[in-house]
Every structure is written in structure tokens, then in C-alpha cells.
Amino acid sequence: MTVNGAGRPRSTVGVSGEPLWLLGVLAAVAILPALPFINNFIIAAVVRALIFIALGQAWNVVAGIGGLLSLGHGVFLGIGCYTMGILFNHFGLPPWFGVFAGVALACVVAAAMGALTLRVRGVFFALATVSVSLALVQLSRHFVDLTGGADGLSLKFIGNSLWVGQSRTPTPFLYAGLAVVVLYYFATRMILASSFGLTMMAVRDDETAAAAAGVAVFRTKLFGLVLSAGMTAFAAALYMQFYMAIDPEAAFGLSQAIQLQLPSLLGGIGTAIGPVIGGAIMIFMSEVTNWGSTKIGVEGGDILVYGILLLVVVLRAPQGVAGLFKSAIVR
């Protein structure tokens, strides 16, 4: 066999035995609350991981599978959180309904952004995601009555109540988070195996060749973006009910934008397992650094650590941790 071109084989979909051991890990997470040495502090950290895994899985759909570098996916997180929060605080609408309003609004905004920017190639889309983020910061500051301005919006606290999706302990969010992560994991696998997933990957690899293969490039990108935005706004429900608050920085800020991208980049972009591994690593690192930086009295150590992590991944393992495992198995 003659080999053309250098480089290790690139990973697309994970190894076939993947769901089994993954389900094992998830089962272990599910029984966490029953274990004697596990406290709410640890469960809350796992919930944070699950939330950012889910958000990462959503970003992965458009950026990883579709190759559209969204630098401002916080837009859809923010839309989801603010919509739910406003509907709850001002109109008493429980999150079970608010989440669908948030998803719908996120999809509409994504469709509008996409329609304006996805026909042209290149960096316009990435830039547009940034400028929409900035615009929404201004908007949320302007409508102070609704959004709480720069201080942000806190959900009215009711106490333990399934109807309003609130809980004093993190355990219910553990199961909700687990459900969303498992759902998104299998959704990602389905997308990767579907004709739609193939068209997204084709567009990611080469738009001109994709069109020459009969792919409706613009429509594919648009649908991928809307799907990813909807998934982000849906996962935002976890975020909002768990944190009980959102503010412009948490929704549209730079460090949040990075936290939405990092799980896929760390774990393996464009794969189903990538954001799961990457999100877990990211939150673990962030917990450790937060603990460490509190000890030595330095703020914002996590962002520095993210930056270093990202640099290491980009330089040493562009396919992420999942890619490392895969090439270790292949070897």
C-alpha cells in the first residue's frame, strides 16, 4: 500500500465499544449521591461538569461536525436563560414552558444570523457571532427592568418544587444533567451516522466539493446552526435552574464563550465522546484551580489554566483527548 500525505488517521466517530464503558461511567455518576463519602459540594461540581458537557455537545454540532466556528455561542445560552428567567419572574411561567420559549427564540435568532452571514464564506459568521454577543450585552443592560441590567437576573426562589424546577440540593440536577448529556451523546452519534451529518462534514471539509456532490451548502449550515442553537438554549435550562441567575458577563462574556468551546476542543472536536471527556476535564481543572487560587489568593486562575490547556491541546493533540486514545489503540 502506498501512503499519500503524512499524518495519523483522523478520527470522525468514536470507537464502536464506546457506549458501553460510557454507560458504565454514567451509571457510576448516577449512584454518586448514594455513596457515603460524597457530599453536596462534590455533587454540585459534577452537575457543573454535566451542564458544560451539554453546552459543549451543543456547540460541537455546529462547530465540530459543521466546521462553523461560533465564537459567541453564549448568545444562545443567554437567550435561553434570560427568556426562562423573565418569563418566570415577571409572568410566573415555570421553566418547563419557559425552556421552549427560549429554544424557539434561540432558533429564530440563529436563523436570522445564519441567513445574514452563512451565504458568504470565511470569517463573517465567526465575526457575526461576536458582534451579536456584544449587541446583546448592550440590550440586556438597556432593558434593566426585565433583565436586571449589569447585575443580572436572579430567579425568584421558591424552594424545593418540581413545578418550578427548583431544589435546595444539587441531586435532582445531577439526574437532569445526566439525562441531557446522554440524550445529546446519542443525538450526536445519530447525526454523525446520518445523511445530514455527512453533509455537514462535507461542508466542513470543502464547501465547493460539497456543492459538487449535490449538498445544499447554505441550507446545511443554516440547519446545523439552528439545531446547535436550540440545543444550547435547551441545555441553558439546566444552567438557569441550577445557578438560579444569569448576567451579561456569564451569558455573553469572553470567558463563557471559551467555556462553551473548550469541552469539544479538549476532548475531541467533531466526535460524540469528545465534549463529554473534555467537559469533565475542564470542570475538574477549574475546580482544582479555583481551590488552589483561593488558597494562594489569586483570582481568575481558571482562565489562565484553560488557556494553557488549550495551547497544549492545539500543539500536542489537535484531535483532543479522544483522538489520543484512538491513535493509542490504533498503534
Binding site: 500500500m1 502506498t2 501512503v3 499519500n4 500525505g5 499524518g7 488517521p9 483522523r10 470522525t12 445523511s195 455527512l198 453533509t199 462534514m201 462535507a202 466542513r204 471539509d205 470543502d206 465547493t208 466539493a209 460539497a210 456543492a211 459538487a212 456532490a213 449535490g214 449538498v215 445544499a216 451548502v217 467533531g270
Partner: protein, 245 residues
């Protein structure tokens, strides 16, 4: 009367001040294999870009089986069976050979036909069965070109445009590919327009040659007519002396 698969009508194309094509008019009958030859920079690839819908012409029109497709999007032309390859092979590099073929088949296959069997047929026809789970980067150039043609044809193909598919191949590889292309033409009734520099190979497979030189057509005819055309010998073959034989 056989119908016309392709009509290029007065097509012109400028890139800023550069005229890449000037008033190009020719047609290709259904079932024909036509060679498009001409020196580097003559405008052959640009013509393919325009026919495939990847680039609009500055003037003129493209008709495909009688219908004006000049303003039609490239992907819609492809779904109607107007297919092409690229001079520099363009594959989906992160996808397997099978996925490369499957994605085209999934978009272009008329409803009611089986996607899986179309993909299998294509892989088999181009002897790619054993390579189906490989990534393009692991393949030889000849196999990469094969994958690109399989992807170009999968699902629906009535007119196939090949841009230098034979160049860069060894003599044996080129001959193998030629017989596969002829088979496509014979068994599937696919009309072929092929741009080529390996003229001896081309002369054996095409019914007609169109010669493009300095952005315009300078001759058309059978390979023998072209070989004996003084204008062509002067303009194009002069330096290569008898490259057609």
C-alpha cells in the same frame, strides 16, 4: 435525432482585466465522449467552473438537456446529473472513502432507489471495495481520483466532466481509468467531457475534440481532423510535434 446533453452558448468570462474565456460556443450530444484540450491557461478549468455552476459567466448561457441552467445553483445541477471532478482532487479528507461516495449518493439519488446498494455499486465499479473504510490521505493518487469520480457519479449522472483525471497517473493507471470511464459511458449512458493533456490516451477514447486556445475555441473535430488541422498544429501542437499520435 439524438438530443444535446450540453450547449455552451457564447460564454465569456473575465477576471478583472484578464479575459479567461471569449465567446465560447459548442455542444455535446447525449452519449458522446468529447475531449477538451488546450495549453495551460487556455480557460478549460474556468469553463468547467461555469458549466458546473460554481462560477457565473460574464456573458452567455449554459443549456443542459435543452434547459437553460445558467442561473441555477451548482448543487441543483449536480442533483440533475451534471457532474464534475476537479483538476486538483478535492475529497472530504476527514471522511472515509465510503462516506465520500455516500454523501453524494444521499443527495442525488432519485427517491425510491436504495442508497446502500448505490454506494456499494459505485465502490465496486471503481474497485474501491477494499478501501471503503480508509481515509483519502491513505490512498494513492490514482485511487483518490477514482474516489472523486465515484463521488461525482453517485446517485445521478447524465453528464460527467473530468478535469485532467488522467494526468499524474502512470501509463497503466491511466489506461485502467480510461477503460472505467468508457464503461461508465457505455453501461450507464453517461455523456463525458474530459480535459486532458495525455493526448495519445485521449485520442483513443474520444469521438470529438474541442481545442481551446487563448480563451477561445480554435478548432473542433475528430482526433484525426484535429491532428491534421494546421491551425491547431500551429497554435497548440507546434511545440510538441505530433503529440496526438
Amino acid at each position: 435525432m439524438t438530443s444535446l446533453a450540453l450547449e455552451v452558448v457564447g460564454v465569456g468570462r473575465r477576471f478583472g482585466g484578464l479575459v479567461a474565456l471569449r465567446d465560447v460556443t459548442f455542444s455535446v450530444a447525449e452519449g458522446e465522449i468529447v475531449g477538451l484540450i488546450g495549453p495551460n491557461g487556455a480557460g478549460k478549468s474556468t469553463l468547467f467552473e461555469i458549466i458546473s455552476g460554481n462560477m457565473p459567466p460574464s456573458h452567455g448561457a449554459i443549456r443542459y438537456f435543452g434547459a437553460d441552467v445558467t442561473g441555477k445553483a451548482a448543487y441543483l445541477r449536480r442533483r440533475d446529473g451534471l457532474c464534475r471532478t476537479f483538476q486538483k482532487v478535492r475529497l472530504f479528507e476527514t471522511m472515509t472513502v465510503e462516506q465520500n461516495v455516500r454523501v453524494a449518493a444521499s443527495q442525488c439519488l432519485p427517491s425510491g432507489r436504495s442508497l446502500a446498494s448505490e454506494v456499494d455499486d459505485m465502490l465496486q465499479q471503481f474497485h474501491l471495495g477494499d478501501l471503503r473504510h480508509r481515509k483519502p490521505s491513505e490512498l494513492t493518487l490514482a485511487d483518490r481520483k477514482r474516489v472523486e469520480i465515484a463521488r461525482a457519479v453517485a446517485g445521478a449522472c447524465r453528464l460527467l466532466m473530468l478535469d485532467e483525471s488522467l494526468s499524474g497517473l502512470t501509463h497503466d493507471e491511466a489506461h485502467r481509468l480510461v477503460s472505467e470511464i468508457i464503461l461508465l459511458n457505455k453501461s450507464r449512458g453517461i455523456t463525458v467531457v474530459i480535459v486532458e493533456h495525455v493526448l495519445s490516451v485521449l485520442a483513443a477514447m474520444v469521438q470529438r475534440l474541442v481545442v481551446l486556445h487563448n480563451a477561445t475555441i480554435v478548432a473542433m473535430g475528430t482526433p484525426t481532423e484535429i491532428a491534421n488541422n494546421p491551425l491547431v498544429i500551429e497554435a497548440y501542437l507546434g511545440s510538441q510535434g505530433g503529440a496526438l499520435t
